[in-house]
Structure formats: structure tokens, C-alpha cells
Symmetry: C2
Subunit: 488 residues, 2 copies
């Protein structure tokens, strides 16, 4: 069903030079997808990875619609088994075909999203979504924000019915032979109602707690637990278990690091609605949050946009293996970028920002290097990440989402990073903070207009008094005890 | 159980001068609470309202813990009946006593929050929370953001049990005699689970739609409906009804006003997680959102913080009367400000920002003037609002949350607005935009440091070239197609 070789042949890559490569990468599962991200993923592999790394121990699984259709989805089951065996997985974006796409591609079936099966197969505990920080790039949070979202339970697997007036009864029958208990009995008076039943399985909360607090400790950030437990009282259980784990295993370490000094020396709980406010207020970052499934869904998207966009957040599914080890699946946080793929097929230039995919791939490679203890691999990952980051902050020399229309194409960016990695790019441009725009996008008229507003006496020069008044007028006067963001 | 007179006596106010007052206010329900907001509410009434308005037709209900205890909560039921009869209600913040407070106050019972009974009694459809805009004050959203949150249903009234392994079955029995149907059947494998059952009553969705779209049309903002319906499929029903109402009654009007030009001429739906991102992106404002109960809870708090704080958002419960008329209850979005009350009791100075309470009171007075067609009353409200707003933007002359430690006390602010309203304050300070700080808080060292960074050749003057480079360095270079916020 799979093999590195067969995949090499399928994707047209050759591994002839494997023997000469310096670093032999430890095993990893590489899931290939399709469209623009498959095309770009292939470029990254060929140009950035393979010249330096022997990836012959990687197992490739093709989760394109065609491959799933050809194998009657056996490839998905194989890939889940491989993930359990190997522990570190990278997944390119895939397409979940609609009925229309099913017909267009001549599929036997509109294969569903693979995520549910993966989450179950790898015994998912949390989905981690953390802010990505590119040195020299102005982003929303100054310091890391970590998030763990319970990967199971809640309304995602709810049963429901749209019903008229009547009565609804819910009964729970214990497996231990104890008598049944009534969970809920209600009278519905409206002529149209949605009745909804779901459950939260809580056995893995202590594992989630260890995972989350361990990560926060490692990153030296202050942890917070988020629920709506004052109103949704069943959520008290999640808080109780997390607090117990924290107090027994982590409290002292966090205290010693001074990470609880702003929260009374104790683990703090925030209500979900209050958390949605703190995320806006705490732009300094340096905190972690752990929440139920749906709250995590909404709050991590809020974090993404405050930071810059979903592309600046990681996405890692953390599952637990039968032997207690952690399985990690790293994904890009975007889809297959269909529009760009269509442009590419029409022969037009494209400019795909590789950050989200590469952060995931480098994450998987690093985790694999940790699992199999291959230090050179971790070093390689850091070097490649650094080459990508430093290219991204050169004005006009990043992809066009950052540099505007004169930025580099998908292929030019790959080439530029390759040169940088290989040391051909000797001049390291000093990173200049830019507002996501290239020089020719600058509005010089606006600058002049602004200058004239500040240059009150109109002599073409701004002195310190005009400067101070100008800042006041622009409402960006620095204050002693709360300097506005841009001056920090 | 109530009367204006008895309340006057209880609160120590006198109505002896009623006969001389110019405007006779139409009926309104005024719910008094306790602690700091009761003290301040009394000041606002005595100093700002009563000198100009005869409030003898207002009905006062005292929802303090003591009053509820004394009347065995009859005062709450009476107040709900009065709300139905009169239609416009203002509520000061109240205390929901904890067990500790019950003992301290010597109450018979820890009386629960009155909100649930009010919501039911007034047949609540939505809770509206809109941004407040004070001219001359720099706030997060440039234009109004309107929000309507379904006031009933969802997890707030869920039934639940914490259970072990077993099976859960939910059955619905229609009132019309049709056979029972299975809503959900599930096997719970964990040793600890929360099982949750709730329903969304959907009969009032078309009323919510009319309310929401009518408000958006009136405010000339683009409406959006927010659910998680792609995953929580039962929510499709809410969207379907809202879309039907929109297409049949509102689409053309919105199109004619050009309010659908950025969304393909159609009503748009956003997923809740995407909405949490758009709220960050759309800082220009000028939109409305309508959502289920819990999504509305979380998203309106996000809006509050982006705009500035919950105090800059209104809070109005909209219910529907038996005759189809709308009942509106206006509240402040904060509590009784216990800390400040304790300071006040210790004889210390306090500085309560009246915005949230006064926006609610003026809202209730305006709505009452609309219900009973008393135009002079609406004009009075506008004039008083304007006096409060204009006082709030005078540097150093607002309350201390805005002006810093040298700002006015609670009582001084009341006095200043009173003088302003009466025309005694002849010098209208030109509104200067400030960053929440008084002049003496300005960090002059920081300004000089910044000036020197921009003044590259160090001649003590900034020319246009240095200015341009400086803006670049500060990452606030205005761009042609996406000028940064502060330059708009």
C-alpha cells in the first residue's frame, strides 16, 4: 500500500543521491495531499530537504482523492497504523471532495474528511495551536501564546433532531448493572426546536493537563484553564482534574520560575467569554490556555487573527499511544489553496507563503529527531527555519502576501532560501520591520500630508515641539505607565 | 409592593418640586440595585434628571437583596408585571448574594439572579449589545457594530449528569400523538463523562430576524448571521429562517442602500470561528451580527474588548409582549462595583465612569419617549448624553479610568456635567484625542528618544526624508491599499 520508493516514483522524485547525503533522517510519516500545496511541498522537499537529508526512512502516504478512491481508503487506515508505529506525522493539506468534485474526478465515493478517523486512531487528546514568531517581523503577540484544545467531545459528535412540541427524556444506563438514571427530562413548547445530546469523555483530562502544563513550563509561560463552568456546571470536572494535576506536579516549578506572580501564586481559571477579552488585552503574550473542544475552536481563531492570520499559528494533534508515548501530527493551518493552483495550471505566476507548511514539516522532523535521538537532524531543522525566517523579513524579497506585487514567486522564494541556506546569499540584509508591503506600495502622498499636519508652522521641518504635538494629535503620545504598542 | 412615592422615601429623594418641572416623563420602570452603582445612580437622577424632568410616572422597584428578602421576592414578580405593562425598563446593577453574603446580610435565602425570570417573563428574543461611540474619543471600532444574541436556548438551560461507562438514550415524544423518536443513542466508554442535553426553541427566530435586520437597516450597517452550522447541523434552521425573512422583507432595502455590495448582494453567513477573526479584522465597524446564545456571549465580549471595554457596549434585553409590542430592558454592562463602594464607605474618593449606566438609562428614557410619543423627552436625552460625552473627552476632566489619577471624582464629574448641561461651562474645550492619559503622564523622555531616532543627522529637526524613514522604522509606513489604523 505504501513505500518510500513507490511514492518517489509516483511523485517523480529520485533518491539516487541518497547515499551521499549527510544526515540520515529518522522515520517519519509524510502524508501528501494535492493541488498547490502538493506542488509547493514537492519543491520544498526537493530543494530544501533532500540535498542535505537522506529521507529514505520516511514513509509516504498519498491521501489525494484519487489515491483514497483507488485503495478504497485503505491508504488512510495504513497511514494511521504507520502513525501509531512511528509517532511523528506531517500532513500536507488534502481535499475533502464534494459531490461535484466526486463527479469531476470520477470517484467511486465522496470520501469524508480523514481527520475524525485520525483523531480516533491516534487517540487524540489535544490540538495544540501556538503562535509562530518570525524575528524581525511585527506580529500581534510579542511573546509566545500556547493553546491546547481538548481534541474530543462536545457538540462535534452530538446527536440531534429537529422536532415540534412534545417531551424529551434522556436516560443513562450504567455498564456496571446499577439502575438507570434520568439525565434530563424537558417539555418543548415551541412548534420548532432543535434538541441536542452530546458528551464529554473526561478520562484523558489528566493526560491533557500533563501535556499542557509541561509545554507551558518548557516555554516559560503562565498557564490558564478556560471553561464556562459557572453556567455549564458539568465543566467543573475538567477544571478540577487540571487543578489537581497542576497542584501535585507543576505548581512549585511554575512558582520557582515566577510565572504565577501575576495570578496570586495559583493556577487561574477564566470563563470563556472573559478569555475572549484577555486575548485582545494580553498582546504581550507569554501565556497559555487550555479549553474544551468548541471553545478552543473559536478562541484559537481569535488568537490567529490578533497575531496576524491562521498561517501564523501551528496546528498539532497530540494523541497517546498504547505504551503512553505521544503521537504528534503536524499540519499546515490552511487548505490546498485552490485558486493559486488554478493560476499555476494556467501558467501564471504564483506566490505561496511557505510558513505554515514548513513550520509543520520542521515540527514533525524535529519531533522525529527527538523520538529517535538524531541531534544533527534537529540542528538542520533550526538552520533551515532560520533561512526561511530571515528571507521572509527582507523588504520586497518575501512572498507577495508579505512583500506586495513585486515580491518573489513560489519558485523564486524557494530558490532564495536555498541560496541563503547554502551561504550563497552572503549579504544578510538587516531585518527591517515592515507593514506587510513593498516599497512601491508606500503612499508618499499620505506621508507628505501627515508631515504637513505635524509641521505646524509649515517651514518644511519638524522640531521637537511640533513632534510632541503631532504625536498627541495622532493619539500615539507615549505615556509613562502604558506606552502604546508601536513604541515598545 | 411598589410606588414612586414609597421608593422616593426609601431612597431619601424628594419629589416636592415635581410640579415646576418642564418635561413630564412618560411611564418607565426603574429598577434600583445597590452598592456603588445605587449611590451613583441616585446622584445622576437627582443632579442630571430631576431638575429638568418630572419622573412621577416612573415606577421604582427595589431589587436589592434586602428588598427581595423582605418581600419574599414578590418585588421581582411585580417588577416583571410592570415591565410588561409599561414596556421600557431601566435596571441598575444588582447583587446576587452568595451563601456568605446571605449570612452577612441576614437574608432568609440566597436569592438567585433575577435575569432568568425576567427573560422568561418578558418573553426575551434577543440581547442586543452595540458599540457606544463618544465623539472625539479614540475607540476600537470606527463605526457602529450591532450584535443580537438569541436570548433563549442552548447550554444555559441544559440538563446534565456526570456518569461512568454505560449507554445513554434520548427519546422525543411528540405532543401530537405521533410515535416517539430516538434523538440520540450512544455508548460511553470512559470511566468519567459529562452527558449534556439541551434544546434551542426556534419559534421566535423570525421575530429575532425582523428585530435584527430592522436595527441594521436603521443604523445602515451590513448584517451577518453567525452559526457553526457546517458542523452543528441543527443550526441550519436558524440560518434558513433568517435568510427567508431577509430575502422577503429586507434584501431590497439593503441593496438600495449599497450595504450588500461587499458581500455579493446577498445576506452572508459566517461560521463562529471565522466571526471571531472578522471581529479583529473589521476595525472600521459598520456591521451587525446575529448569533445563538452562547456564541453571542463569547463574541460580544470580544467586541467589547476590541472596542475598549465592556463599559463601551450597550446591553438591552428585547422581549415580545402578548400584543406583539417590544419590551426593552436596558442595563449597565458592569456590576455594583463593590471595591469602589468599599472605598466610598471608608470615606475615600471614588471615580465611577457613568457611561454604561447612563447609556442604559438614556436608552430606556428614549424608548419610553418613543412608546408614549413624548418628543421633548427624547431631545432632553440627547442633550444630556451630549453633555456627558463632551465632558468625557476633556483631557484631565473625565473620570480617572480615562484621565488618570488627576481626573474628577464621581461627584465632581456629576457636577461638571451638570454645569455643562446648564450652560455654566461656557468654554467648550476642543476635543483632543488622548490615549487614556492626562498630560502629566506623558513620557517626554520617550518622545525625545523617538525624535532622536527619526532625526537621523541629529540636527534637531526632522525633514521629509527622515520622516519617511522614521515611519518605516516604526513599521507604520502608510500604504496605498491598506493604511494602518492610526492614519485613517
Amino acid at each position: 500500500m505504501f513505500s518510500s520508493l513507490s511514492t518517489c516514483l509516483r511523485t517523480g522524485r529520485t533518491y539516487s543521491s541518497c547515499a551521499k547525503l549527510r544526515i540520515v533522517a529518522p522515520p517519519m510519516v509524510y502524508i501528501t495531499g494535492e493541488e498547490m500545496t502538493r506542488y509547493a511541498g514537492n519543491l520544498y522537499l526537493r530543494q530544501w530537504i533532500e540535498p542535505h537529508v537522506d529521507i529514505s526512512q520516511w514513509e509516504f502516504y498519498d491521501l489525494s482523492c484519487k489515491s483514497r478512491d483507488d485503495t478504497n481508503d485503505q491508504v488512510l487506515y495504513d497511514c494511521i497504523l504507520a502513525g501509531k508505529r512511528i509517532g511523528s506525522i506531517y500532513k500536507e493539506p488534502t481535499v475533502t471532495p464534494t459531490e461535484t468534485q466526486k463527479k469531476e474526478m470520477g470517484l467511486k465515493k465522496a470520501w469524508g474528511s480523514p481527520n475524525g478517523l485520525m483523531r480516533t486512531g491516534w487517540n487524540g487528546i489535544t490540538i495544540s495551536r501556538d503562535t509562530i514568531h518570525v524575528p524581525g517581523m511585527e506580529l500581534g503577540y510579542k511573546n509566545p501564546v500556547l493553546f491546547d484544545r481538548h481534541a474530543v467531545g462536545g457538540e462535534y459528535a452530538a446527536g440531534y433532531k429537529i422536532v415540534g412540541a412534545g417531551t424529551a427524556s434522556s436516560i443513562f444506563t450504567p455498564a456496571n448493572g446499577n439502575p438507570p438514571v434520568i439525565v434530563d427530562h424537558r417539555v418543548l413548547k415551541d412548534t420548532c426546536n432543535a434538541i441536542v445530546v452530546y458528551h464529554n469523555p473526561y478520562d484523558n483530562i489528566s493526560q491533557m493537563a500533563h501535556h499542557f502544563f509541561g509545554r507551558c513550563l518548557n516555554a516559560k509561560v503562565t498557564p490558564y484553564v478556560v471553561t464556562k463552568k459557572t453556567v455549564f456546571k458539568w465543566q467543573e470536572e475538567l477544571w478540577r482534574v487540571m487543578k489537581d494535576v497542576f497542584d501535585a506536579h507543576y505548581k512549585k516549578d511554575f512558582q520557582d520560575l515566577g510565572l504565577l506572580k501575576n495570578c496570586g501564586g495559583e493556577l487561574q481559571h477564566y470563563l470563556s467569554d472573559v478569555a475572549s477579552m484577555q486575548l485582545v488585552r494580553w498582546s504581550h503574550g507569554g501565556f497559555g490556555m487550555c479549553a474544551h473542544n468548541y471553545d478552543g475552536d473559536v478562541l484559537t481563531d481569535e488568537i490567529a487573527q490578533i497575531h496576524r492570520s491562521p498561517g501564523f499559528l501551528t496546528s498539532v494533534l497530540n494523541g497517546i499511544n498504547d505504551n503512553g508515548s505521544i503521537i504528534k501530527e503536524f499540519e499546515a493551518s490552511h487548505g490546498t489553496v485552490t485558486d493559486m493552483w488554478k493560476s499555476h495550471l494556467r501558467g501564471e505566476e504564483t506566490s505561496l507563503n511557505p510558513l505554515s507548511m514548513m513550520e509543520a514539516l520542521l515540527g514533525a522532523m524535529s519531533y522525529s529527531s527527538q523520538l529517535y535521538d538524531v541531534k544533527e537532524m534537529a540542528e538542520f531543522c533550526e538552520k533551515l527555519r532560520s533561512a526561511i525566517y530571515s528571507q521572509m523579513v527582507i523588504p520586497g524579497k518575501a512572498t507577495r502576501d508579505l512583500s506586495g506585487p513585486t515580491g518573489l514567486t513560489t519558485e523564486q522564494f524557494v530558490e532564495a532560501v536555498k541560496d541563503r541556506f547554502d551561504g550563497k546569499e552572503s549579504v544578510h540584509h538587516k531585518a527591517v520591520r515592515i507593514v506587510g508591503g513593498s516599497a512601491d506600495q508606500v503612499d508618499h502622498e499620505k506621508i507628505l500630508e501627515l508631515f504637513q499636519v505635524i509641521d505646524k508652522n509649515g517651514d518644511g521641518l519638524i522640531d521637537i515641539e511640533e513632534f510632541t504635538n503631532g504625536l498627541k494629535k495622532l493619539a500615539i503620545l507615549p505615556k509613562k505607565d502604558g506606552v502604546k504598542k508601536i513604541f515598545e
